[in-house]
């Protein structure tokens, strides 16, 4: 372990000139994959439901039929939330990695999960227990405030928000918030119970009310995110070059962080903290598409929901009739996936 000066070794990558046609076809195939996964998400679960019943649930709904209720009111919102939240996390991860030029950037680093957790327990302490949909607002607010704080702290000083300063600010803010959360939770049992339920990312117990609440933010965030592709490509060249090319670096950075705050805030408030996907999937997308962020974002948009839903399905099936939360499954798969990823790819741009 020799501590030497940072070398500016060029990154060795095979030139990835995927033609636009190939990538577009791949995108269409991904849509198909997502559709198949959705199908499985709706057909599998703790309760066995036949295909004809599923069909009937959509065409001739009878609310008194328990199986049909399960399909329409439990599995459909669960699948929808999985899609949108997954997309949000994947896009946020890609944007964060691009704007901070830290291949290990993950929304959790920005203190988002800590912020959401703190505001949830704070809400319980002040207002008493509420329904899940009330917490969504608080979680969203907390996540947003945390992101803004982290970014704000990191941008003090001449260089603005460099990767190191962002990571440090994120760690500091997360530490303070975690301490506050622990303090509240140790003195308030209902806060503890609610936090315990929320703390593992899960799609269970999230129904249409939560979906409708978070949908507007998710849609806005996704639209904003998809538009940042070109700016991200510019930033990837390095700030000075980007500035020279006429890009408004400061403005784009702010927009990107706001987008991340909205997306992650909404996703985390809906399902709780789901780690790993925001980090790993953009890398997968990059492996497939190459360095053009417009494609990376598009692929992340579809790839992440696939991963999230597959993990959710596995969780529903693997210890039936019980359930394993999606956050747990992703944690177990994600850790080795992350290590493999780092081993076989050069971590560019640090």
């Amino acid at each position: 372990m020799s501590i030497t000066a940072r070398t500016e070794a060029p990154v060795e990558q095979r030139p990835r000139h995927r033609s636009r046609a190939t990538l577009a076809t791949g995108f269409v195939i991904l849509i198909g994959v997502l559709a198949v996964v959705c199908f499985f998400s709706i057909t599998m679960g703790a309760r066995g439901v036949g295909l004809s019943t599923i069909w009937k649930a959509f065409t001739d709904y009878d609310p008194s039929n328990a199986s049909e209720t399960v399909i329409r009111e439990l599995r459909v919102p669960r699948t929808l939330i999985g899609i949108f939240a997954g997309a949000a996390l994947g896009l946020s991860g890609a944007i964060l990695q691009g704007v901070t030029r830290n291949p290990l950037a993950d929304p959790g680093i920005m203190g988002i999960n800590a912020g959401a957790a703190t505001s949830i327990v704070f809400a319980i302490m002040v207002l008493g227990t509420q329904s899940t949909s009330t917490y969504v607002w608080f979680a969203f607010l907390g996540a947003g405030v945390a992101t803004v704080t982290v970014y704000g702290i990191a941008s003090f000083g001449r260089e603005g928000a460099t990767p190191v300063k962002l990571a440090l600010a994120g760690a500091a803010v997360t530490a303070i918030l975690s301490s506050i959360t622990s303090a509240i939770v140790m003195t308030n049992v209902s806060a503890l119970n609610e936090l315990r339920f929320w703390q593992v990312g899960s799609l269970a117990g999230r129904y249409f009310p939560v979906f409708w609440q978070t949908l507007p933010f998710l849609v806005i965030g996704i639209v904003l995110a998809l538009g940042t592709g070109r700016a991200l490509n510019g930033l990837a060249l390095g700030e000075d070059l980007a500035l020279a090319l006429g890009q408004r670096v400061r403005l784009t950075r702010v927009v990107m962080f706001v987008t991340v705050a909205i997306l992650c805030g909404a996703a985390t408030s809906a399902c709780g903290p789901i780690v790993f996907v925001g980090l790993v999937v953009p890398h997968l997308a990059r492996m497939i598409c190459g360095p053009d962020y417009r494609w990376i974002l598009s692929y992340s948009l579809l790839l992440t929901p696939v991963v999230v839903l597959v993990a959710d399905i596995i969780g529903r099936v693997i210890i039936s009739p019980g359930e394993l939360q999606v956050g747990v499954v992703l944690g177990v798969i994600g850790a080795p996936a992350f290590i493999l990823l780092v081993r076989y790819r050069n971590l560019a741009e640090l």
Partner: protein, 330 residues
Amino acid sequence: MKRLLLVSVSAALFLAGCGSSSDDDSADAKGGEAWSYTSGDGKTYDADSTPTRIIAHGPAAAALISFGIKPIAIYSDGPVDQDKSLKDLDLSGIEILSETYGQIDAEKAAGLKPDLIVASYWPLEKAYSGFEAGVEDSAQKVKGLADVVGPAEGDSVVTKIEGYEELAQSLGADTTGEKIAADKATFQTAVERFRTTVASKEGLTSLAVSPAEDLLYVAVPSEASELSDFTQWGLDIMTPDSPDPDFAYWENLSWENADKYQPDFVLMDDRDAANSLEVAQGQPTWQNIKAVGAGAVVPWPAYWMNTYRDYTDQLDQLSTAIEKIDPNLT
């Protein structure tokens, strides 16, 4: 100099390592008769003299107070003003050692120099209330201050209350007085009313549940004292077929399968009633239980009753509610 530092630090660490070998409790012989009681765990506990400084778990304290024995301190699983079993009791002069499950202020407890701790015994977990696996270490240490005794849970609330009566008698209380006799009499009347009400509804079935955000918990009647009593008095409570092997008081049902059991009415855990109801109503499949649709949800006094008076009140409420139930719903 460094060596001196080394020595002094080692000394401090050695001091720290001078473990915690607790001394034997030196029994204060206060004079008086010897005391003996067969507790819920099957063992008999003796003392040279009748214990007078008693620490009790909340519900156990309620029972003791109803028989004339006042503990010097209690520990409760939740805020004392929200504890159903401690409602309407005069707790003046009683120290409160805890208002959170899993915690007991061990220092305060030690300072009180107790000679007996009273709590009910859970045969499934082989532990007394407040000392189950999972409570904080400092709470577990309180066990070392004095013997822990109390009747067993699970079979019947009536035998539990009788166990407390026996304990109170051994501690010197006179349980033959008028008030206690009157309490017993009204209780018997309430039991009779319950029996006849249930008998009048042929084919009545029920299910005891506790709704949570992610799961619906279905109670195993034989592990809940009051449910065992109800079963003995003629009420048919459905027994879940696959209880959680690690915590066999309940079966954990996914909300997708909420309609697995269809009773004529639902007994809902009343320990946090408003919240439980809100949680349940937020679940789309709650309505798939026919009894819910028919408004047949009745509060179930879960695990907390320890006195004749509380039991009388609850039985009367149950009887009134059951009178309105349609036994042919399912």
